[in-house]
């Protein structure tokens, strides 16, 4: 394999398995064997990479205070203030958690781990107004994101964030709540059409008693668990949650469902069913080892076929992280990152529903595309952005509280905000080899094949810096 060939392949690999790559790293890695590069991507991190922003002890204390306040019939002014303060701190912490993860994606040395976390974040989509729960779920998705799918699934199912979001806290013997049981099969494992309504009922009974206690620790409440006999996919027994998960994983449809979703996320919006089948068999035979699945995918020849290179629309997270990573961007007002996510349609930790973000062409409409194409000049050239975005529905209570008689009820009057970010241009330019031409830089920054028009547009460019801003502002840069 020649070096030029490998250069292109590693670049593609890092665009999909990570968030892009610097020119200097790419040069280094393309001298290695491709299988070795894939192996290195799959390696465990040298040090623990869990996000520890939210202080667990403090959060648990707050949780207990809040529970006590909620139990009271009447609150005095002091207590009302206390409750408001807790809500305020939670909201602030939730925003900080979002930014901490974005920063981790921007700075990580193990990009595939973060990319997998992003994948599972959309697959096990969940909203929690408790930042401790949200952080915990995110860490589960990172820690097990390349491990055993069974462990991942069990841990996610036991997390207070998911138990709360899908109402398993209300799933009790004699009064089953089927929400979790339904989504477990429809969205997390088997996919629609591979189970019956009866299977959902029996599965819901089996998960009764899977709850979390008042400080947010998983607990199996035996007295609320339905001990009766259940019939699930033709098997009869006194099943408990984990038995159900085992039976679900025993079905090859689960491996196929996950493989197809992985394929759509990492390879192409339109799955090639033969390739999906290949992945699914491998995944199933490896006993649901996610690393094995990803290794198979990244080492398959078809992954590097032209129809799979430079043809996927970047998600807003991929777009923002990729741009920030490539140009070493510092955000002086990190909240702008939340504003951008929300305006572009992917506010992390706030998926539209349990089905996650639909992805693909649904990322793009006239306003989100225009904004995407303006962001590079705003972020890299520190511009002003006249884009206030919509309020998140969950923030309505805060909006209602903070509103006074004189303020306007609309986002129209929000002051203009400045992106207030800096790219580290010297550092970026340092990653480039000496004598690199604008055309070569363009070839490096864009994943789709260059055409005459782009070639012509950059040919009259003198500086690499202005070339970079222009190129990242093009429709082609939206693809990876």
């Amino acid at each position: 394999m020649n070096a030029k060939d490998n250069f292109i392949k590693v670049k593609h690999l890092y665009n999909r398995a990570g968030f892009g790559i610097s020119y200097s790293d790419l040069n280094k890695l393309s001298r290695k064997n491709l299988n070795k590069v894939v192996d290195d991507l799959l390696k465990e991190p040298k040090k623990d990479d869990a996000i520890t922003l939210v202080d667990t002890t403090e959060s648990k204390r707050q949780l207990l205070v809040q529970t006590a306040l909620n139990a009271k019939k009447e609150l005095d002014d002091e207590e009302k203030k206390m409750r408001q303060e807790i809500v305020r701190m939670r909201n602030e912490m939730s925003r900080n958690l979002n930014i901490a993860w974005i920063n981790q994606m921007i700075n990580t040395e193990t990009p595939l781990r973060e990319k997998m976390t992003l994948f599972w974040h959309g697959h096990f989509a969940c909203r929690s107004n408790n930042p401790m729960y949200a952080q915990q779920l995110n860490n589960i998705q990172r820690q097990h994101g390349l491990g055993s799918f069974k462990t991942l699934l069990v841990e996610v199912s036991k997390s207070p964030a998911m138990l709360q979001y899908l109402n398993n806290q209300q799933n009790r013997k004699g009064k089953p709540n089927e929400n979790f049981a339904r989504e477990l099969m429809e969205l997390f494992t088997l996919g629609r059409g591979n189970y019956t309504e009866q299977d959902i009922k029996e599965s819901a009974r089996s998960f009764t008693g899977w709850m979390y206690d008042k400080d947010g620790t998983f607990i199996f409440r035996k007295n609320l668990h339905d001990e009766g006999t259940k019939t699930f996919f033709g098997k009869i027994g006194n099943f408990e949650g984990e038995n159900i998960i085992d039976i679900i994983l025993d079905k090859p449809e689960t491996a196929e469902f996950i493989s197809r979703k992985v394929y759509k996320f990492f390879v192409n919006d339109n799955p090639n069913e033969a390739h999906v089948k290949e992945l699914a068999n491998h995944f199933y035979n490896s006993k649901y080892n996610i690393s094995e699945l990803m290794k198979k995918l990244f080492t398959s020849d078809w992954f590097y076929n032209p129809e799979n290179v430079g043809t996927k629309i970047k998600s807003p997270a991929e777009f923002l992280v990729g741009l920030s990573r490539e140009f070493f961007v510092t955000y002086n007002k990190p909240l702008v990152l939340i504003q951008l996510q929300s305006s572009l349609g992917q506010y992390l930790f706030n998926p539209p529903n349990v089905a996650g973000w639909p992805g693909g062409q649904s990322w793009i409409d006239s306003s989100s595309l225009m904004l995407r194409m303006r962001i590079p000049s705003l972020v890299l050239n520190d511009g002003e952005i006249d884009f206030s975005g919509k309020a998140d529905p969950e923030d309505e209570a805060v909006i209602a509280l903070s509103r006074t008689a004189t303020t306007n009820a609309n986002t129209n009057t929000k002051p203009k905000s400045f992106v207030n970010a800096q790219a580290d241009w010297p550092k970026f330019l340092n990653t480039l080899p000496k004598g690199l031409t604008p055309l070569q830089l363009t070839e490096f920054l864009l994943q789709p094949k260059l055409n005459d028009k782009i070639t012509r547009m950059v040919s009259d460019n003198k500086g690499l810096r202005s070339t970079a801003v222009e190129i990242t502002s093009m429709p082609e840069y939206q693809l990876c």
Binding site: P352, P393, A400, N408, A409, S473
Partner: protein, 399 residues
Amino acid sequence: MNRRNFLRNTGFVAAGSLFVPAFMKPLEAMALDELSLYKNLVVVQLSGGNDGLNTVIPFGNDIYYQKRKNIAIKPEEVIKLNDMQGLNPNMKALQEIYDQGWMTIINDVGYPNPDRSHFRSMDIWQSGSDSNQFLSTGWIGRYLDSNCQTCKFPYTAIEVDDSLSLAMKGQTKKGIALKDPAALFRNTNDPFFKAVLQSDKEHLDEDNLGYLYKTMIETQSSASYIQNTSKIYQSKSTYPQSGFANQLKTVSKFISSGLKTRVYYVSLSGFDTHVNQINQQGNLLKQYSEGMAAFLKDLKTNNKLEDTLVITFSEFGRRVEQNASNGTDHGTANNMFIFGGRLKKQGIFNAAPNLSDLDTGDLKYQLDFRQVYGTILDKWLDVNNADILNKKFNTLDFI
């Protein structure tokens, strides 16, 4: 290219002739079948879950006063519409509208197995899904997808906002979000973007890159069309000073200048009144009512009220009983408002909420919100509602 101009707003640049393939020729050049009667729909979203029971007050029902000791509106303050229901006093501006026969109130609109999460319930209302179904397209978006005679333009649906709501997103077609037509026009006519779009034929196939270019060309073309059609129009009506009224003023400008857009979408947020709701909700209802009254009168002056239907919804109502903080918590069924110059059934459409027959403290719904959508799709937007809503919903006779 002149780099100094790159991605800066350069003021007005004459819209040059774009070279694009025939199948995507500029919309402004398309021959349009002028429709003598061009019907518009304006959707007004109240975000946060507006408390319907303190909006349209069941003052004739004692249970209302028993359950809401601190926040009930006193009977003498209510703007009475009949013996049972009346408007919140902050909605005074709408009294004249109501008396003119331009307003219909539909009580208890909801859906089976209601969800009390703002996000999820808004998702359900915007997508028109069942409560256990996840759709990634909106009801207006699917109307655009249906490619009917009158909805084929990229500017068929406009949201007066910075970003596009799910309601406006279809599988293949989407509405356009803009707050200020002049700003969008300037942005899309940036010399750099124009250069990007110049003489580009090779990308315009059906793949993702083609889709990006198609979206960009349509945006630029729509921005030019909207700006050029609406810029000369000057409204003579006065609107109150509020962001919401400004959104409506923009919609009126579009409608009155003859834009061939069919659906407009605006929203007003802040209705999640868990604490001390009286003043907060009062202020919002005042803003809403004054904005709406100005808008409807403006349309009337311009002879557009007959061709316009305005609907207002919120993702859910609140619980019947107030909470301990003089506010209300998330509930279920809620009222919807319909406005227009050609309403078939004016005033109060159906029975007032039954406060003695509740579902664990919540109102039971009388009508599915998709019956309201279905009625509008069938009778106003001229499509078959089953094609858009995935199953047939019985229509109502308010239009």
